[in-house]
């Protein structure tokens, strides 16, 4: 279980408060107007953003003393998820251990996860030689070998077309189910939430609200969400 206990995040004059719990294994969409602090919330969980007050706990353990690389978190950003000068295999390999050479077993594990996301045969390509969808797949392959329990997605598929994005979301759903991951995904699009998220955290007016079931929330949006979604 991920628990934000009176978490208070400040950036200059910007302030976001969060007091909520997310069950282990849940898939949660984080939605809200731009500038409300959706990415900031994920960055706080990942350790890129310190808390002014409160705690963030995973399975009862306070994450504060852990740096971003030490938390049980795999995060995909909007861009820059792959090193452009490294091949797919090298990029994915960094997920096992970024600081040493890999053993034969680990290399086999890397190749297996590359195959799992459907990139077999492209192991030696550089990111520039891949399509946008293939780049996303490579990043997801790395998430697989990282073996972290929490997956944070900060709109990594925003640049993809609708069909491709749907394909990626389905892949994410399968991966999170197979590996029993807990997922938080920032999204601008309520359809994304309907597609893979069981629950939605609404971030608006300086607060991240506790999660609510997706369909229920989207069908009967509260005022803050309604003004974001518009009339349709």
């Amino acid at each position: 279980m991920l628990k934000l206990e009176g978490a208070d995040i400040r950036k200059g004059t910007f302030r976001l408060e969060a007091d909520l719990e997310i069950a282990g294994g849940a898939r949660v969409a984080v939605i809200g107007p731009s500038g409300a602090g959706k990415s900031t919330l994920l960055e706080a969980v990942a350790g890129f953003q310190p808390l002014a007050a409160g705690r963030i706990l995973w399975q009862g353990r306070d994450l504060a003393p852990l740096g971003p690389g030490k938390r049980p978190v795999a995060m995909l950003f909007q861009d820059g998820n792959l090193f452009p000068h490294l091949s797919v295999r090298q990029n994915v390999g960094l997920g096992v251990d970024a600081n040493r050479r890999l053993t034969a077993t680990e290399r086999a594990q890397v190749d297996a996860s590359i195959a799992r996301v459907g990139l077999q045969g492209l192991e030696d390509r550089k990111p520039a030689e891949l399509s946008g969808g293939q780049q996303s797949r490579a990043a997801l392959a790395r998430v697989l070998v990282q073996g972290r329990e929490l997956l944070l997605l900060d709109e990594p598929f925003a640049a993809l077309g609708p069909a491709l994005k749907a394909e990626m979301l389905d892949l994410v759903r399968d991966i999170t189910t197979e590996s029993d991951l807990t997922m938080l995904m920032v999204s601008h699009d309520p359809q994304d939430a309907r597609r893979i998220a069981d629950q939605v955290v609404l971030v608006a007016e300086g607060t991240a609200r506790p999660p609510e079931p997706t369909v229920q929330l989207l069908d009967n949006p509260p005022a803050a969400l309604r003004s974001y979604l518009g009339d349709n």
């Binding site: 950036k11 731009s34 500038g35 602090g37 959706k38 990415s39 900031t40 960055e43 990942a46 890129f48 953003q49 740096g67 971003p68 690389g69 030490k70 978190v73 795999a74 995060m75 950003f77 909007q78 820059g80 998820n81 792959l82 090193f83 452009p84 000068h85 490294l86 090298q90 960094l94 997920g95 970024a98 600081n99 040493r100 550089k126 520039a128 990282q146 900060d154 709109e155």
Partner: protein, 523 residues
């Protein structure tokens, strides 16, 4: 939101190695100065000769800066608004004097402007007396030769940075040349020219090799040359120390001034783009632009051509001393380049990760440090323990490294900053640390800039004629020093052959390292 959310203090590598590197350089520069000052037995007054050296240093630096910038304005303007075949090559060539060994340029300038040079020969045909290159105007001509291209590149950059839309708007408003000048060009020049002039002034203050070869005598001695003479001929440490302090005050003041009004470095790429413009269409503008470009190209290329032409005959019969000097130079340049990377890489990473102070300190020290002051200081420090001549080569390598450091940082820091901005978050998220970050991210991503900086350092070191003149005994010489000695012995053919060898070596080593860095490098 996603981009403004970029956290500031991500440091995937430690900053302390950079801090240590900066401290080491500071210690070297300031420590040697202290050593000189302490060793100076007080009471060395500032005599008439010293006053005239100070005056000459200032006068030649001011003249060099003003003339370089004054000539660069029309040349840059012509280059900014004309497109012609060879424009790219010419703009690339404007970068060449920076890595051209001073002694090579001097031989080229002598062959063109010297007593028996091409210009004098031409004047002789119409019955005029030959031109005289030694003295103030020779020193200034040489400085303009080196700094006109720098000034042109800096000012051209200013021209290129005027947004194309403004030229379009001005053309649409039917702005004539006067209005164009007032609306667009003058405001830009007012921003760019003071910086360019200040940088050139600062560079010319520490002129040593030019003054050594074309100046000299009581009326054309720079402070640097005076330090050398006090040390080398009189072994008057007190006077050398006193002159060193004056020189240091001068260069620190000039470096601060240059940084205050600072701007790009003219090393950057992107200058070969011609802005679409609708002015300067008249025949007169066309003619004057053509003339300026032709004159500048001739002024820069004739001396280089002269080096080639004059050097070839001597190349076949180079004395053995030249070859052994070339070998010494290559060793020094290799050591100097290795040292530079050792210092500049961690330092540039630390600066890029937010330790801006380090960059300022290293920049000022690098610009203000006088090779001869450092050399004198090291001499004084080691003199009681070891024979300083033994240390001539390593000391030269260290001094060359310090001299190249500010330029290397200007090349490395922006790229380092960019690479860290793009990759630091991912590296931290993957728990990548120290060595792995260097090996897997920073070094491969900065390879092109590392090659460029290394090439620049190696070429500068190969061509340097400075501190080695203090230390070298008659048995050992670097290639530039050997060229100078051959000139002094009036063995001009051998000197010109050796100069050609030096020219080829410096350009070759720069090309090799720069190309090697960019070979198959991803951007």
């Amino acid at each position: 939101m996603a981009h403004s959310a970029q956290p500031v203090n991500l440091r995937p590598v430690a900053t302390w190695p950079g801090t240590c590197a900066a401290l080491g350089v500071a210690l070297l520069v300031l420590g040697t100065l202290a050593a000189v000052t302490l060793r100076a037995e007080g009471g060395a007054g500032f005599g008439a000769a010293d006053q005239s050296a100070l005056r000459f240093t200032l006068v030649q630096a001011v003249l060099s800066a003003l003339i370089s910038v004054g000539l660069a304005i029309p040349v840059a303007r012509a280059l900014a608004r004309r497109r012609f075949p060879g424009r790219r090559v010419l703009i690339t060539l404007l970068g060449a004097p920076f890595i051209l060994p001073v002694i090579v340029a001097i031989l080229g300038l002598l062959a063109v402007f010297g007593r028996s040079g091409w210009v004098s020969d031409a004047l002789g045909l119409v019955g005029l007396p030959p031109v005289q290159i030694y003295g103030l105007h020779g020193v200034v001509i040489a400085h303009v030769f080196f700094n006109l291209p720098l000034a042109t590149r800096l000012i051209l950059q200013g021209w290129q940075e005027i947004p194309a839309e403004r030229f379009r708007l001005a053309a649409q408003l039917d702005a004539g040349p006067g209005a164009m000048w007032r609306l667009l060009e003058l405001p830009m020049l007012r921003q760019v020219v003071p910086g360019a002039a200040a940088v050139i002034f600062a560079i010319c203050l520490s002129s040593f090799a030019v003054a050594l070869t074309l100046g000299g005598g009581p009326r054309a001695t720079t402070l640097e040359l005076a330090i050398y003479q006090a040390f080398h001929f009189d072994f008057d440490l007190g006077r050398a120390a006193m002159l060193s302090s004056v020189q240091l005050v001068l260069t620190v003041a000039a470096a601060l001034l240059a940084l205050r009004v600072s701007l790009g470095d003219g090393l950057g790429a992107g200058l070969d783009r011609a802005v679409a413009r609708w002015d300067g269409a008249g025949a007169r503008a066309w003619l004057s632009d053509g003339l300026w470009i032709a004159l500048a190209a001739l002024f820069l290329m004739l001396p280089l051509l002269a080096v080639l032409v004059a050097g070839v005959p001597g190349l076949a019969s180079l004395p053995g001393s030249v070859w052994s000097a070339a070998w010494v130079s290559i060793q020094i340049a290799s050591l100097s380049t290795a040292l530079l990377l050792l210092v500049a890489l961690p330092l540039s990473a630390s600066i890029a990760m937010g330790r801006k102070r380090l960059g300022e300190v290293a920049g000022i020290l690098g610009l203000a440090a006088s090779p001869l002051v450092i050399g004198t200081g090291l001499f004084v420090m080691v003199y009681p323990f070891v024979d300083p001549f033994v240390l001539a080569l390593p000391v030269t390598a260290v001094v060359n490294m310090v001299m190249a450091l500010p330029f290397a940082l200007r090349i490395l820091v922006p790229r380092m900053r960019q690479v860290l901005r793009q990759n630091a978050r991912l590296a931290v998220a993957l728990d990548m640390r120290g060595r792995a970050v260097w090996q897997r991210v920073l070094l491969p991503r900065c390879r092109a800039q590392i090659g460029f900086a290394a090439g620049l350092t190696a070429a500068l070191s190969l061509g340097d004629l400075g501190v080695i003149a203090l230390f070298a005994d008659p048995e050992v010489a670097t290639l530039p020093l050997q060229v100078y000695r051959l000139m002094g012995a009036y063995r001009m053919e051998a000197a010109q052959g050796a100069a050609l060898l030096l020219f080829v070596l410096s350009m070759g080593v720069f090309w090799l390292l720069d190309r090697g860095g960019r070979y198959h490098a991803e951007t």
